[in-house]
């Protein structure tokens, strides 16, 4: 405690900033852990349900059970677009071929847009983790350098160079680096972990989009 109270104003500000970084990054870590875990588990369950079902409208009626899965968003978007295409095709019977081709493309675009929006949602706040991981040690280092500068200044003022005078000042200064590392290390580890998990989810979304388009093309347009 004496280490914290004995520091100068600048070092105290640095420590507060670092503690703020740590609090926010841990909040993000917990939030993301919860979000990614739910997304993963519900995606697995949704895919299982999707392959077991025979009809899209049956899936659409049950999709709320997997509300946390990004695949449900893709399905909703694709299915909604598909319904519009089919309704549009029904209204203009004469131009069935051109509507069919254009309809699949529409569905594809809708799926791509939904994928992008889900990626954005999943990657939200990850930038802060990356920032914390890369800048916290430097902020801590700045606090340490400043602390050592003031420590040397006080050593010069007292005129004593004994270890009893030098050591406490340097110890107080080094605490800034320590807290910087405490904030940065979990942030970097969490960032890498979430990046990997989100990449897996993106691959799953791409696969699902392809499968959805294949099914649409096979069953609706008959190709």
């Amino acid at each position: 405690m004496a280490l914290l109270t004995g520091t100068g104003l600048i070092v105290k500000i640095v420590l507060l900033v670092l503690i703020g970084f740590s609090v926010i990054s841990w909040a993000i870590i917990m939030f993301k852990l919860f979000q990614v875990h739910r997304a993963n588990s519900e995606s697995v369950r949704f895919m299982d349900f999707f392959w077991k079902s025979k009809r899209f409208d049956a899936i659409a009626s049950q999709v709320d059970r997997f509300a946390n899965s990004p695949l449900t968003v893709l399905f909703n978007e694709g299915y909604g677009e598909l319904k519009k295409v089919v309704e549009g095709a029904g209204a203009s019977e004469g131009s069935a071929l051109s509507t069919d081709l254009g309809g699949v493309e529409n569905v594809s675009r809708a799926l791509r847009r939904a994928t992008n929006s889900e990626i954005t949602r999943l990657e939200k706040y990850l930038t802060f983790l990356a920032t914390t991981g890369s800048t916290s040690p430097f902020i801590g280092l700045f606090g340490t350098v400043w602390g050592i500068m003031t420590a040397f200044e006080s050593i010069g003022r007292t005129g004593s160079a004994s270890l009893a005078v030098v050591a406490p000042g340097i110890a107080e200064a080094l605490i800034a680096t320590a807290i910087g590392l405490v904030a940065a290390i979990p942030a970097v580890m969490a960032y890498n972990h979430f990046q990997h998990k989100i990449r897996v989810l993106i691959n799953e979304m791409d696969s699902f989009s392809t499968e959805f388009l294949n099914i649409v093309q096979r069953n609706i347009t008959g190709k």
């Binding site: 926010i24 841990w26 917990m30 847009r113 889900e118 949602r121 005129g159 009893a164």
Partner: protein
């Protein structure tokens, strides 16, 4: 058309609160840990042995034996075997003639002769010691006469200064303090300071006799004197002490000529 996300996220607010609580808990735990197991940082004070004023043991008095070491004294040599082989004695004609019937009485009282021998040895030692002391005193007297100094054992002593040994003691204290405070900005700083110490060992005055003009050095010297003065002991014979010391980055020397 807007895309409906998988689920409206609750936001990061709840996580922030949880994170703050966790951080506070960790901080309190650390505080509690620090109170439970306080860091025992003790700065050991350096003790100096005052070589100048150390009592010197008489080399002739033998090595001091500490109390309790008696038990560790080397064991006595084993007793000679009873059936030790006797060396044949050379019988001289004189010895043969000296043997008289009355001589058996002297041989019968060996303790008496031992005591007499010890007494004689003690007398001789006493005489020898007295002679040695006399010789030492004579040498000292001649030395004092030759140097004209009023103080024994101090060839350069003027006889007016109060305890030359005390000067060395003060020099030693100043040296220790100066090692901690030394700082200078010039090339060859030098400073001569006159120090006055009262009968109680208290620094009464310090005057700068001469200085090279290095302000940082001057400050460090004055600080060293103040620091050292905390440990001064009273001068011998409770007399006032006045000494001049030359301070240089290389060390401190007493200026005996002044």
């Amino acid at each position: 058309m807007t895309i409906r996300p998988a689920k409206v996220d609750r936001g990061i607010g709840v996580s922030c609160i949880v994170s703050t609580v966790i951080h506070l808990t960790v901080f309190l735990l650390l505080l509690w840990w620090g109170k439970l197991f306080p860091a025992n940082i003790t700065y050991q004070e350096t003790y100096y042995v005052d070589v100048v004023n150390l009592p010197v043991a008489n080399p002739r008095a033998g090595s001091p034996t500490q109390k309790g070491n008696e038990a560790q004294v080397a064991p006595p040599p084993p007793p000679a075997p009873a059936s030790a082989m006797k060396l044949p004695e050379k019988s001289t004609p004189a010895a043969k003639t000296a043997v008289k019937p009355g001589a058996g009485a002297a041989k019968a009282d060996p303790a008496k002769s031992d005591a007499a021998f010890a007494e004689r040895m003690a007398k001789l030692e006493k005489i020898n010691e007295a002679r040695h002391e006399e010789a030492v005193m004579e040498r000292l007297r001649s030395k004092i006469k030759a140097s004209g100094s009023g103080r024994a054992g101090m060839p350069t002593g003027s006889g007016t200064e109060h305890g030359s040994d005390y000067t060395a003691y003060i020099q030693s204290r100043l040296k220790d303090a100066f090692a901690e405070t030394i700082s200078y900005s010039g090339k060859n700083p030098e400073m001569i300071v006159r120090i006055f110490i009262d009968a109680g060992g208290k620094l009464t005055r310090r005057t700068i006799e001469r200085s090279s003009g290095d302000h940082a050095f001057e400050l460090s010297v004055l600080r060293a004197i103040d620091l050292a003065s905390e440990k001064f002991t009273p001068p011998p014979a409770k007399k006032l002490f006045e000494g001049v010391f030359v301070f240089k980055p290389q060390g401190i020397t007493p200026n005996r000529g002044k």
